[in-house]
């Protein structure tokens, strides 16, 4: 039960990647991934370019390799799925040592591994260089519906509070003889989860009243200006443009 601590997601570093306006970075991340997904899987050179771009941004932002590695473990389930594809894929097979592997499956595994790794790394870099609240500001600049941005904002703001509450309830239950592994403890776990939801709801009511009392009108005041400065788009969007151009060239060649 760890890993909700939002402050550990962002590196408070300095340098160009941290200064670009958040909405530019969000657009760039999505644009870069459009290029990655559009790249034909046969174009190894194109994936090398994409990978170099990701590494370049990570180096420019001085994101430690250990940080990247630890944040990328979320990808592992699909890595496993991809690694099994050569064994179960359809179509012609090729002998690799003692195994007959599906050619289509090998291509599939390569394509999933390459793209999923680039995608995870891109998302990790986006958050590493951008405060979570800034990402929300960026979403709002990009005309994501205000209700969604607001719900996401309150969710992120209170995530640790609710999470710590769950941890305290769990500790209390363990202290009273609750056995997490026993089938009979499901009911107790359900009651605890229900209590957690009720507490979250009641906290929501209190937060709501308190905010109305302080003049909340459905939007959060902007504490920091998030205007893009000259050069933000040309620098920030460069990886995305490069990725899309590379994808177009690779598709043309294929």
């Amino acid at each position: 039960m760890s890993g909700v601590h939002a402050h550990a997601l962002t590196i408070h570093g300095h340098g160009r990647p941290y200064e670009i306006a958040p909405h530019v970075k969000v657009v760039a991340a999505f644009g870069f991934m459009v290029g990655v997904v559009a790249t034909p899987r046969e174009a190894f050179w194109a994936f090398a370019v994409h990978g170099a771009v990701v590494v370049g941004v990570a180096v420019a932002a001085r994101v430690p390799a250990t940080f990247m590695a630890s944040r990328m473990v979320v990808e592992i389930p699909f890595v496993l799925f991809a690694l099994f594809l050569p064994f179960v894929g359809v179509g012609p097979r090729v002998a690799v040592g003692p195994l007959a592997l599906s050619i289509e499956g090998i291509w599939g595994a390569w394509s999933i591994l390459a793209r999923a790794t680039l995608g995870t790394a891109t998302a990790v870099l986006l958050v590493a260089t951008t405060e979570v609240t800034e990402i929300l500001t960026g979403m709002s600049r990009l005309r994501v519906p205000a209700a969604i941005v607001a719900i996401a904002g309150f969710m992120i703001r209170y995530l640790e509070v609710v999470f710590d509450e769950a941890a305290r309830m769990r500790t209390a239950m363990l202290a009273r003889g609750w056995e997490p592994k026993s089938r009979r403890s499901l009911r107790a776990a359900g009651s605890m989860a229900a209590a957690l939801l009720v507490r979250a709801y009641e906290r929501g009511e209190r937060v709501h009243s308190a905010m109305l009392a302080r003049g909340y009108d459905g939007t959060m005041p902007r504490l920091f200006p998030s205007e893009s400065r000259p050069g933000d788009w040309s620098v920030g969007a460069a990886p995305a443009v490069l990725a899309i151009v590379v994808a177009a060239v690779a598709r043309g060649a294929a």
């Binding site: 179509g91 291509w107 680039l118 986006l126 719900i151 969710m155 009651s191 709501h208 905010m211």
Partner: protein, 321 residues
């Protein structure tokens, strides 16, 4: 079960994103009245609550724990549209902030984790409620049915997306059957957890359960043990029916990968050695029809089992009173 980037083609990802956007737009329209008084902090805290519940390990079977997916739970507790919206936000934050699930695949994940489970879960829940008395045990039965149906429905949606634009050439018939089997099992775990949570909510604050508004006037009582009895029986049946697929690993996609992979390293024929070989070489052959029939059969059998379990619980209850 978060799909990463590169798993599905760009076109299919875009189509799924459009479908998700449509679902979210409809949900925003339906919840506009609710947000008229700026009750956004409330929705945000429910999103945080669902997110945290997803991270908890629930003891589902002795020695095995499961994770809540939460789509059906959110729909039953918050109503279908608010539930859809809240879980969609959870999925988006997971992708954007926690790098869980790809950026291009965000629409796919919203569709599979929020839109389909919320809508399927709610409609099955309402369907069962509409033909059963407005009593606590029946609300929990409906909850279990909704949660159970929501998971394989989502798994089948994934198979359809994979068929349209999946990478890697996994054999579709096998994938469909394996996904269905594993996700029926996961659905039973989901039903157990959801029933336990909704049972607890009905005891504390029945007025907070949107799908049981008609019960709220009844007041709190200790009747929720019936839910636990029901859960226990459902689990026992689940163990008997789908034990071969039982895995310590609660994540269906991983389990499918393992099931497909472990026994298929033989050189001659991968399919012949797989645990699903019997299904594939069924008289109907490996066609969409046979897979659909298998799915239908699975759902009918499951509903039948649930009806029997409900009947047994009702009978025991009547005899005790």
């Amino acid at each position: 079960m978060h799909v990463p980037d590169g798993f599905l083609s760009g076109t299919v990802s875009a189509g799924a994103a459009v479908a998700s956007a449509g679902g979210i737009a409809a949900a925003l329209r339906q919840t506009r009245a609710h947000f008229a008084d700026k009750r956004l902090p409330l929705a945000g805290l429910m999103a945080a609550g669902i997110f945290v519940l997803q991270m908890l390990n629930f003891p589902v079977v002795s020695g095995t724990s499961g994770h809540l997916l939460g789509g059906a739970l959110a729909a039953i507790v918050l109503g279908p549209w608010m539930g859809l919206l809240v879980v969609s936000v959870v999925v988006m934050v997971q992708a954007l902030v926690f790098a869980d699930g790809g950026l291009i695949a965000m629409g796919t994940n919203v569709l599979l984790i929020a839109v389909i489970p919320a809508l399927v879960g709610w409609s099955v829940f309402r369907a069962v409620r509409s033909v059963t008395p407005a009593r606590r045990p029946w609300v929990l039965t409906a909850t279990g049915a909704g949660a159970l149906a929501s998971v394989p429905a989502s798994a089948m949606a994934f198979v359809i997306l994979y068929a349209l634009g999946g990478q890697g050439g996994a054999p579709l018939g096998m994938l469909a059957i394996a996904m269905l089997a594993v996700h029926l099992l996961i659905g039973i775990g989901e039903a157990a957890i959801t029933v336990a949570v909704v049972g607890g909510l009905l005891a504390y604050r029945a007025d907070l359960v949107a799908g049981a508004e008609d019960l709220a006037t009844e007041g709190a009582s200790a009747r929720t043990e019936r839910g636990a009895v029901w859960v226990g029986l459902a689990l026992a049946v689940a163990l008997l029916v789908v034990a071969p697929f039982a895995s310590a690993n609660p994540d269906g996609l991983e389990s499918v990968a393992e099931s497909l992979g472990f026994d298929t390293t033989a050189v001659e024929s991968a399919v012949a050695e797989s645990p699903f070989a019997d299904y594939v070489v069924s008289p109907l052959g490996e066609t969409g029809v046979s897979v659909a029939l298998a799915g239908l059969l699975g759902i009918v059998v499951t509903l039948g089992v649930m009806a029997v379990v409900t009947w047994v619980v009702r009978g025991r209850r009547a005899s005790r009173v």
